[in-house]
């Protein structure tokens, strides 16, 4: 079990770093958007590149930040039944969910999005807007995000199996997220 737990900690570490990157993207995207709006009126200055970089960052904060959110157990659930079953049942639900829901989805979505990135990379696809950005970075972020999510799934799976065997409680219990 120990090597597996090490692996789980390593994955958590990696995704926490990506989570920090995602945190920064929130503020950066915000400042760019506000700056862009102001400069458009102050100096009639604006460009498609600045508009596009905002949603590139949006894609980044979502795809790179979601695995960290999973680690903190903050993806919203329908907790009608979930809140009334025992801790061990909840762990069991999570284990099955990770194996039968999370892994297949991440793998299938990676399967669909990866060739898209490769294609975009090969033809060096540019935005169709004048002065727009090159497209492959945002197309890369999708499969990378799903891969990181699958990795986090592995880590969560290890932690839950361990908790089930050793009767531990999980570090992050589920609470309804703030909104």
């Amino acid at each position: 079990m120990e090597p597996l737990l090490k692996l789980s900690r390593a994955i958590d570490f990696i995704n926490d770093r990506f989570g920090e990157v995602a945190n920064w993207l929130v503020l950066l995207a915000c400042l760019i958007s506000a700056g862009n709006a102001m400069s458009r009126y102050a100096f009639s200055l604006s460009s498609n590149a600045w508009l596009e970089v905002q949603w590139y960052m949006f894609a980044g904060m979502v795809m790179l930040g979601a695995p960290h959110t999973l680690r903190l157990n903050e993806h919203v659930r329908v907790d009608l039944l979930f809140s009334s079953v025992s801790e061990r049942t909840r762990i069991g639900i999570d284990i099955l969910g990770i194996i039968f829901f999370l892994f297949p989805i991440c793998i299938i979505l990676m399967y669909f999005t990866w060739p898209w990135f490769v294609e975009s990379w090969h033809i060096q696809e540019m935005s169709s807007n004048a002065g727009g950005l090159i497209r492959w970075p945002v197309k890369l972020v999708l499969p990378v995000g799903f891969a990181l999510m699958a990795l986090q799934g592995v880590s969560e799976l290890i932690k839950r199996i361990e908790a089930l065997i050793h009767h531990h409680r999980l570090q992050f219990e589920y609470e309804k997220p703030l909104q």
């Binding site: 498609n48 979502v62 999973l70 989805i105 975009s120 004048a130 999708l142």
Partner: protein, 475 residues
Amino acid sequence: MIPFVRENMAPLMFGGMVLFMLIGFPAAFSLAATGLFFGFIGIELGLIQPDFLGNLTYQLFGIVSNDLLLAIPFFTLMGAILERCGLAEDLLDSIGQLFGPVRGGLSYAVIFVGAILGAITGTVAASVIAMGVISMTPMLKYGYSTRHTMGVIAASGTITQLIPPSLVLIVLADQLGRSVGDMYAGAIGPSIIQVALFCIWVFILSIFWPKDVPALPEEARTLQGWQLWKRCLWGIVPSLGLIFLVLGTIFMGLATPTEAGALGVVGAIALAASYRTLTWKLLYQGMSTTMRITAMVVYILIGARTFSLIFQGVGGKVWIEDLLIALPGGQIGFLLFVNAFIFVIAFFLDFFEIAFIIIPLLAPVADKLGIDLIWFGVLICANVQTSFMHPPFGFALFYLRGIAPPSIKTSEIYWGAIPWVVLQVILVLIVILWPGSVTYWIDRSTRIDPSKVKIEIEQPELPPPLQLGPLPQSQ
């Protein structure tokens, strides 16, 4: 067996979705899993083509390149900063003193501050927490009944939902394919009715149950005359500034809703700095919560799009349409049914799940019945607002439980919320029976579509060029 499945694929898939969601695994994954599971059955049965699933890539790209969804992190960050910057405390303190001498004065103050905060920010949690912490203690101390205190705080915190620039309205506008500006204009009337209803209720209480809502005693009114007015202005002027920065720029067509959200963040940071509450920790915590909420919400959207792509592929859209158009009573019958349905489903699903899963199924039917989608959206918004208040899962109540002293029983919070849920249902009925309450303001608003203010309008992403094989050699 197989012909049965083939015939009833859509209802089976809908049932499957409910089942998968009930298991309690994060909804985003349950939804996507339902979609893919039934997608493969559909392919096996020959209902959909195998490469139909390839459309998923376009759906995903459509989500991340959606400029309007960027408003989610911006408005959330703005709310997270305002929540702790001290503005709400200042407002409540001064307005509470202003209304204090009247019976129910503190309740009116809480409602008005809720409305002002609602006009500044777009998220619910922020204002409920801020108001709960500061107004609960004085209200209980000066003899307001516990139930009423809990109810009025929870209800006022959720006003934000309906008053522009509500995040809920932005998301609904996106799902319904209408402009955010019209959606905001449409929500003005119902927002006013809502605040009026709340105030009327406090007034009724102060006449029939004056003991529940006493006036402030003389010794609690520390500020008098000019001093008091100065304090009020000190709280209200920066609020008006922020309201202009966000709502004003949208209504005047100066900025897109997304940009207005970003400007609001800058304004909120400046305000926090002027209150000397701006710390690095506050800002970073705000960024971090915002990132997690955004990621969670957009993942639900990813799951919902996966689900609805396949659901439409197996004929779900037609099934829902046939089901709902057959309802008796035409428009009104449909609206009553849909609102009752959403009222109930809101016990189990949070707003974003409703917006991303349920609304896309209902919108085409509403459109077909000739229902104005702005009216429909505002109606849904007013309705969903109850989901934040109704026991036992309402978010607002959940927060209140978190910050209320342990001596207050959970049952009192629940009982306190019920009159306000009833008021909200009355609002929904008013809006159903009087569409003019929504459309009156749309006709009056500028005809500029704020979501198209951009100088450069972004072109929709074109599909990549087809990979054609080498041209056949000419003879």
